[in-house]
């Protein structure tokens, strides 16, 4: 086994769960999360020799994963058409909100509520969604998130704050619909 292969396998063992769960949080679908995980580690393998060590492996792998997730969402949305001559959907997250919600990490009794939460999270801007997910679900600190997103710590704090405010507003609107159904 070459040193490169040994190093790659070590990275895979260390980060496979992190990558898979970041992808799952973004896409809420096991099949898509597996596909993203594969693509991420193929990129890691191909880029390992040129990795310059300016950031840690963890930061580097997180960045690749987030970019893959965002690209996947854009790609799937651009493929989605409701009829042949239809316009491309204006909602970037159309694909996410019409695909089946699937997140095995959520407690069974919370699945319905979590599906609503993720629906609303999917309407946040890319940066707000990233910062919120990394903070709330991955439990990363603001300095870690700022390294990954290559933003200042104050920008990250601002993104998380605006994400929370936006979620509160959108959930408040959803509550009215929720009440009407009852």
């Amino acid at each position: 086994m070459t040193q490169n292969q040994f190093h790659f396998e070590k990275l895979y063992r260390e980060y496979k769960t992190v990558v898979f769960n970041v992808a799952l949080n973004y896409l809420q679908n096991i099949e898509d999360a597996e596909e993203i995980t594969q693509d991420v580690f193929v990129k890691v393998y191909n880029s390992l020799e040129s990795f310059n060590g300016k950031s840690s492996h963890k930061t580097w792998i997180y960045r690749i994963t987030i970019n893959q997730c965002l690209d996947c969402i854009k790609q799937k949305n651009s493929q989605k058409r409701f009829f042949i001559f239809g316009k491309k959907s204006q909602n970037e997250n159309e694909y996410l909100n019409t695909a089946t919600f699937e997140h095995p990490g959520i407690l069974m009794e919370n699945k319905e509520d979590a599906a609503i939460l993720f629906e609303v999270i999917n309407t946040l801007t890319e940066n707000q969604k990233t910062a919120f997910l990394l903070s709330k679900l991955d439990g990363l600190s603001n300095p870690e998130i700022s390294d990954i997103m290559q933003l200042s710590i104050s920008s990250v704090e601002s993104l998380i704050f605006r994400a929370k405010v936006s979620l509160q507003d959108k959930l408040s609107q959803r509550f009215n619909n929720h009440r009407k159904k009852k």
Binding site: T17, V18, V42, L107, A114, L117, V120, L137, Q168, H178
Partner: protein
């Protein structure tokens, strides 16, 4: 109050989230994808090399036929000039 409680419940629905371990066969799928990508890139290299070779051959043959035409036209010019006066020296 009911609204706030509901919002709070939704926001806390990810509490107790447990990390999901990907399936064991994922690594072998990754290895297979890496091998396939290497094969595909070799094909591309051969394709590019073949295209370059074809271009070089085409350019050489065009240049060579142009050179022949030039030689032919120079020879024709001298023949015409000689034929006018039938004299080599004037």
């Amino acid at each position: 109050m009911e609204r706030n409680n509901w919002i709070e419940t939704i926001l806390n629905s990810t509490n107790g989230l447990t990390p999901v371990v990907p399936s064991d066969n994922l690594f072998s799928k990754i290895q297979a994808q890496i091998k396939n990508k290497n094969k595909v890139s070799e094909k591309i290299i051969w394709l590019v090399a073949a295209s370059v070779a074809v271009l070089v051959v085409l350019n050489c043959s065009v240049l060579s036929s142009k050179t022949k035409k030039n030689k032919t036209s120079t020879t024709t010019y001298f023949e015409n000039e000689l034929n006018k006066s039938n004299q080599l020296y004037q």
